[in-house]
Symmetry: C2
Subunit: 198 residues, 2 copies
């Protein structure tokens, strides 16, 4: 079985990356990685579906054992990407999507071969509008979020691919094309060429 | 208008690259480059459609003026890729396909930004069969062609993408995916990101 492609998807809040990733999940050949967290499950959240829920000591021992591809702390809880939610699917030949931020992307790309995709809004005006629709109430909160978006987007130069999300179906198809292309990069096809030439 | 992608397509005789390129031509966003040659037109061949037919001195003055992206001599005739059959279409935003051999690919990639795709047969047995069906009559001629194919395929390690042509529609779709992906490589999207961040 040919190993799948590991793809990191990042983008600012309001870029629509979550919606894109959700649509990708409908493809049988694509697995969206489930994060681990030490926060308590909310109503309706299932272990292994929404998150892998862990105790703090369990989480930190995973980190020590190199079983977290990346992690961070937020509001006194840990969030991370467990290797066990990634590696088995890649081996099965599935493409695996990690929806993580720019810092997580840096951590993962140091230790695993992956392709990094950044989702962009069509314009900053539209990003602002989307953030308002999400209920960012005060002018101050909105400015904080816009500054954060700007900061994250400055890191996009370090990504491999950029997709502007002006239409969700188009954006999803573009991401799928990138996954197909990635499978045909020469370093992913070397075994086949070796076999033909032997 | 966003500049198109220049894609080189190579592959041994019998890989089916010609059929793939012909199908790509049906896409309005793709232009297949027309070669120039100094050989005489055959019945039914049209200038600007099958080839740009040129006199030898005209061809060689194009080479001197840097107006040939690549060229070679075969059976006392020159064959080449005129820049005028490539650059205007890229500027119009079309993706341009050059169906050229491994030597031509080397020449072009030195002077223009391009992506290099190599088409592979599913197996050497099948390649042999396809060459037989094309009327390679003698055992000797067949062996020469197979050796040539082997030599060309050894150069495929220097390409960017490899596609195995086991099904023509699949192969065409893969090539189209690669073109879409290529348009979203970070170096082709830099202008959009600059614009968003300014």
């Amino acid at each position: 079985m040919k190993r799948g492609v590991l793809m990191i998807v990042s983008g600012p809040s309001g870029s629509g990356k979550g919606t894109i990733v959700k649509q990708l999940e409908n493809d049988d050949n694509i697995k969206v990685s489930v994060s681990a967290t030490t926060r308590k499950p909310r109503a309706g959240e299932e272990h292994g579906v929404h998150y892998y829920f862990m105790e703090k000591d369990e989480f930190l021992s995973c980190v020590d054992d190199g079983e977290m591809l990346e992690y961070n702390e937020y509001c006194e809880n840990y969030y991370g990407t467990p290797l066990m939610g990634v590696e088995p699917f890649l081996k099965e030949g599935k493409d695996v999507i990690l929806e993580i931020d720019v810092n997580g992307a840096k951590q993962v790309s140091k230790i695993m071969k992956c392709v990094k995709l950044f989702i962009l809004p069509p314009s900053m005006q539209l990003l602002k509008k989307r953030l308002c629709l999400r209920g960012t109430e005060t002018e101050e909160a909105l400015n904080i979020r816009l500054n954060q978006a700007h900061f994250e987007m400055e890191q996009a130069y370090n990504y491999d691919y950029l997709v502007v999300n002006d239409n969700i179906d188009d954006a999803v198809n573009k991401v799928k094309s990138i996954l197909i292309a990635q499978r045909h990069r020469v370093f992913n096809m070397k075994d086949k060429l070796d076999e033909l030439l032997k």
